[in-house]
């Protein structure tokens, strides 16, 4: 089996999509790793739905001295302040999401359909919906939705499907999918395969993707 990209590389590729001046909300998981791949010349402002705009980075083990119990992100992780940080309530934070003030969100998914439907609430057709979180608002309110995920399930089944089988988070909301083998754009015409992980062929990626992929004339190897 060919090598797949690791979580850091997926995050680095997704982070390349973030532009100078963008206001960005990162979902917990591979999404939050994006903060580590923003070059210093690019100013990206991070928003979190627990009511913080302009925070720095997630603290790591060994940085307990910098930790403030009163400053956490949406994942409950301790973060640093950034210059110009502002605080509001959860309700005010979601106002900004629903009114289109957030430019990009990077979040994980269980399944994505060829129309851009997103399923990231529960990994089961019938399971108890025990957790929803802020994903529904993010997916439907943020201007650009980037999904970061492994291309297939642990059992090797496709996660990019004609129709999602798991309960939907939101319909027709995903713009770009960055996986461990490919970068795929969701377009009106269908899924556009734009980049491949090193060593992967179109046929190999198509074999683990349910819908028929459109091949970009500019198809290239993933660049970071």
């Amino acid at each position: 089996m060919k090598q797949r990209l690791d979580r850091d590389i997926i995050a680095a590729r997704a982070a390349k999509e973030l532009k100078d001046g963008d206001v960005v909300n990162l979902g917990v998981g591979i999404g939050t790793l994006c903060v580590n791949f923003i070059p210093p010349e690019k100013q990206v402002v991070f928003h979190s739905e627990n009511g913080v705009y302009a925070f720095g980075r997630v603290l790591a083990k060994g940085e307990e001295d910098l930790m403030d119990l009163n400053l956490v992100n949406a994942g409950g992780q301790f973060v640093t302040p950034a210059p110009g940080m502002s605080i509001c309530t959860f309700a005010d934070a979601f106002d900004a999401v629903r009114t289109g003030r957030i430019d990009v969100t990077v979040l994980g998914a269980f399944q994505v359909s060829e129309k851009g439907d997103l399923a990231n609430v529960v990994a089961s057709e019938v399971g108890w919906i025990g957790t929803i979180g802020g994903a529904m608002e993010m997916a439907s309110g943020v201007k650009k939705v980037i999904v970061v995920m492994p291309h297939t399930t642990a059992e090797g089944k496709p996660k990019i499907l004609k129709e999602c089988t798991f309960p939907l988070t939101a319909t027709r909301c995903v713009d770009l999918i960055v996986t461990d083998v490919a970068v795929i754009e969701v377009t009106e015409e269908g899924l556009l395969l734009k980049e491949l992980a090193p060593g992967w062929t179109v046929n190999e990626v198509q074999a683990i993707t349910e819908p028929k992929l459109i091949i970009s004339p500019d198809l290239k190897e993933i660049e970071l």
């Binding site: 913080v52 409950g76 025990g130 979180g133 529904m136």
Partner: protein
């Protein structure tokens, strides 16, 4: 002047009856009213309806497992009220269980009922409850499982679902400073949903780091006006803050 300041958390929660609804913030260490939660457990009121973002997380220990004193917070998270079987219903957005948090097991066994709400809708229902309004329409959740059974209306060509307000009999608030009138300021993300809880509760109880005289807080910087606050308790030395 009406005295809102009480000396102990036990007094502050003493009149909470069985069957009451309680609203509070729960988001890791930031803004969770740990001392009031511990007092409510000691008080023992049962059949409670619990309204919050979640029912306690273990982020703290995941990120800094060796940090001294961290387990004290884990032992005061709202899920301890599940351990003491005081809760009959939760209205939250995160209902995932952990080794310390039995929420999923208790819902599956039917011991606890759960209403799981998208986070943005949940906090807006609190805000509307605190605003004295009767509901709002949103496009969030349209076309998903969440829409099922909801009243809908087309507004500006978009299908929307009707959402109803949330209020509680008692609100637990965690703030940084109070003045003697009950005006509150918060610290960073500990603001959380605390200002919403203050307005959406019939009786609001605040636990604070510090109490100052009326007039000492900058009026422009007060986040929660004192008229929403009924009781204030200063967290004593050795309390969770």
């Amino acid at each position: 002047m009406k005295n809102k300041i009480l000396n102990t958390f036990a007094e502050a929660v003493a009149d909470i009856p069985h069957g009451a609804s309680i609203m509070m913030s729960s988001w890791g260490t930031a803004g969770t009213p740990f001392n009031l939660i511990l007092a409510l457990q000691d008080h023992g009121a049962r059949n409670l309806t619990y309204i919050s973002q979640n029912i306690g997380g273990t982020h703290v220990i995941r990120q800094f497992p060796d940090k001294p004193g961290m387990t004290r917070y884990l032992d005061a998270m709202p899920y301890i009220l599940l351990h003491s079987k005081q809760i009959k219903k939760v209205i939250v957005t995160w209902g995932r269980g952990t080794d310390r948090n039995p929420i999923e097991k208790m819902v599956n066994s039917g011991e606890v009922q759960a209403e799981i709400v998208p986070l943005g809708i949940l906090v807006e229902r609190m805000r509307i409850g605190g605003a004295g309004l009767q509901g709002f329409y949103t496009t969030t959740g349209v076309g998903t499982f969440y829409e099922k059974g909801k009243e809908t209306k087309v507004i500006d060509g978009q299908k929307c679902i009707l959402e109803l307000p949330l209020r509680a009999d008692f609100g637990f608030v965690r703030a940084y400073k109070a003045d003697t009138l009950g005006n509150l300021v918060y610290r960073m993300t500990s603001r959380s949903i605390n200002p919403l809880v203050a307005k959406a509760s019939t009786v609001t109880i605040a636990e604070v780091d510090e109490i100052v005289e009326a007039g000492e807080l900058d009026p422009e910087c007060i986040i929660t006006p004192g008229l929403h606050i009924d009781r204030i308790v200063k967290i004593p030395e050795g309390g969770l803050r």
